[in-house]
Amino acid sequence: MQEFNISEGNLEQCLKCNLCTLVCPMMQVNEYYPGPKKAGPDGERYRLKDPDYYDYALKYCLNCKRCEVSCPSGVKVGDIIQAARLKYAGHNLRDFVLASTDLVGSLSTPFAPIVNATLKARPVKAVLHTVMGVDAQRKFPSYSQKTFTRWFRKASVPGGEADQSGFERFVRFYHGCYVQYNYPQLGKDLVKVVNAAGYGVRLLEGERCCGVALISNSFGRQATRQARANIAALQQAVAAGEDIVTVSSTCTFTLRDEYPNVLHLDNAAVRPHLTLLSRWLCRQGPLPFRKDLHLRIAYHTACHMQKLGWRSYTLQLLRQIPGVEVIELEPRCCGIAGTFGFKKENYAWSQAIGQGLFDAIREIAPDYVVTECETCKWQIEMSTGVPVLNPVSLLAMSIV
């Protein structure tokens, strides 16, 4: 039936059961938000009548997609909301700066120490807060002096620090902006783990930012341009018979789901070959784990990880590490939602949404929180003081 269905996002399958309303993190804290059902399928019927029914309160949608995961009727509630925002919402300079991770990242890395110091300075924060609307209480992720790809090109050559020439089989690594500009170490960790599994790592040709922040800030055209470039790059890898591995749940979710569902781009050919590293590793042989670790970690399921449905792969893998006690946190939103929590008007809501999660983490007091999402990491580290690791980094720590 769905094949023939013409209504976008399965709008008409909605039975109005309100399960999505129950799971929406924003509904619990923000009385101005009409909720996923009203903003999504209900509102869409009115927007189809007349675009004047677009409600600016749709900006409060976190795009966490918990509504979609909960929907028993297969309605793409979150997609309907995203599509409406892309079509009708406006934006400002602040949104542009926050959304353009590629542009800002490539401008910042050459001056990383200066940028990092500047972003920490009180007066700068005050200006950002009042003029730009970026909340002063936020800690910015710091920029790296050297991008990941610069390191990799030097290190991967024969005789280099991470020589990839001895492998017969390869995977491609979609590294994303966070690895590239902010935290190249995570990329290095991936290379170590993949190599330990007997594969070499290659980079994609012409990788761009996945565009998740562009989509949620309504820069549809720019997002589409980047998505087209990425699909072409991924197709090239698939044509070479290589899987594409990733470290970030949000980038992966965007490449896999947002491209076809929100930007209406066909990625069917690459979709089966795109996977988070943990899922890929589950199909490989056992890793050479160390036996001397003694760690308690708490696993946090990022919203987009929930949407991907791949949490069990990561948990299975983490539980194989000797000496690591894995505590699974109840899946709930941390509240940051990418750029959302950086906007000063959203700061209080952002923290209120995450409060339950922060309390749970403080109570467990683990050595690390482990999660696939970089913005969850910033939020949890800032709000609880507990260090947060990507599972790939934990794996890198755990192998010989």
Binding site: E12, L15, K16, K38
Partner: protein, 519 residues
Amino acid sequence: MTQEFDVIIVGGGVTGAAAARDCALRGLRTLLLERGDICDGASGRNHGLLHSGARYAVTDPEGARECIRENQILRRVASSCVEPCDGLFITLPEDSLEYQDRFVQACRAAGIAAEPISPEEALRLEPAVNPALIGAVKVPDASVDPFRLTDANIIDAVRHGATILKFHTVTEFIKEKGRIAGVRALPHGESGPLEFRAREVVLAAGIWTAELARSAGVRIEMLPSKGALIIFGHRVAGMVINRCRKPANADILVPGDVVSVLGTTSDKVPLDTIDDMHATPEEVDLLLWEGVQLVPALASTRVIRAYAGVRPLVMAGGEGDGRNVSRGIVVLDHELRDGVPGLITITGGKLTTSRLMAELVTDKVCEKLGVKAPCRTALDPLPGSEKRHPKAEEPYFKRAAIGRHGSEADRMDFKRGREIICECEQVTRAEIAWAVQTLGVRNISDLRRHTRIGMGTCQGSFCIRKVARVLAEELGKPELERDFIADYLQERWKGMTPVLWGDTLREAEYMQTMHRDEI
């Protein structure tokens, strides 16, 4: 106790309501009697199409001219009820382009701005139309909400001094010296009728006119013609889509508020069935089969409901299937026609020409009463029509109400009742309270007609209990809450039964599970 009026109008459909307003505007002491709720009959069971007249241009040029004039007037004076969406007449490969040429010429002769456009242009304007089309004509059709048009007339009639009594069944005509001097009417729930006297009584009771006329001692032959329609859950097309051929079954799709309405069939039915109208599964099949020729997407779009109404056609000699009979406006002066003074009938016509029907019958009433006041209804805007679109800064809970009632929404008390009760149609407590106070709503079905409550995709499954409680509270009759629920579920069930497949079947199962005790 007897109450005295200048004129009594029997029938609270769109024609009766417009006549009551016209009479009141001309200074007559006016009473409108309705046996049920406003828009209970054909006025509430149609396409909601404001004809440009194009559909009649070839077969009934005079009717077409009437339509385009009234279309232009209502766009102006009833802007909160009319959506000027325009329409397309599409020609499919099995139709004839020669007919299209004849059609365009006939439209132009009737003063209708019919503009032939290429199939590509038609698909650009309305991507939902059948891409196989070979020709298209753009016409100034529009969508009109019959409930709100009637309500706006009622509200204005009351503001100009008219008395509206709903749930009053006329039981008898008062005859004095061979003249009709008034009526006796039984208020529902009371034991004895009340007496109302007037110098003129106007019958505007649609298909029920025949029976009323008989009891008044005159004979009017009506031809009940049943029309079935189906409602799709959302807007599939933004324009009215017609088939450019001789009028036939299921060849009009109208965007009505947030849904799409497809119709109609046309079948002669016996007079004794007119109080129990419902669409049959066969009619639904026929409608869908024809509808997908217009808009292929209808094949997979969720149908939420089917319903049927009766066209009040007046027999003009000869038999027909209901489509060949004149739909022209008929004003019967029974003093001249039957030697029964004091009685006038207004019938025939269409939703589109309801204002004109009211004008003609009010002219007749004024002539009889010797009143000289001119008709103002073509100039004076109806209440609510100052505003149609919600503005960006309007809060979400007020937007749908503005779309439905225009500036009347400013009279609703959102400070007290911003809580949304019906989520599909975004009806708030404030709107319910307004409907109770302004329109004399008594039960959920009344409330539905005037606010769209429970008319959305879930057909009331999720809001019915809230609605019942809030309505009972607003009426000050908490004991009615449970009856409201049972009655309303029965009524919704009637419309869902002929279309129980796919998502509507899932919805119905859900409804049944939730309200097991009431069904």
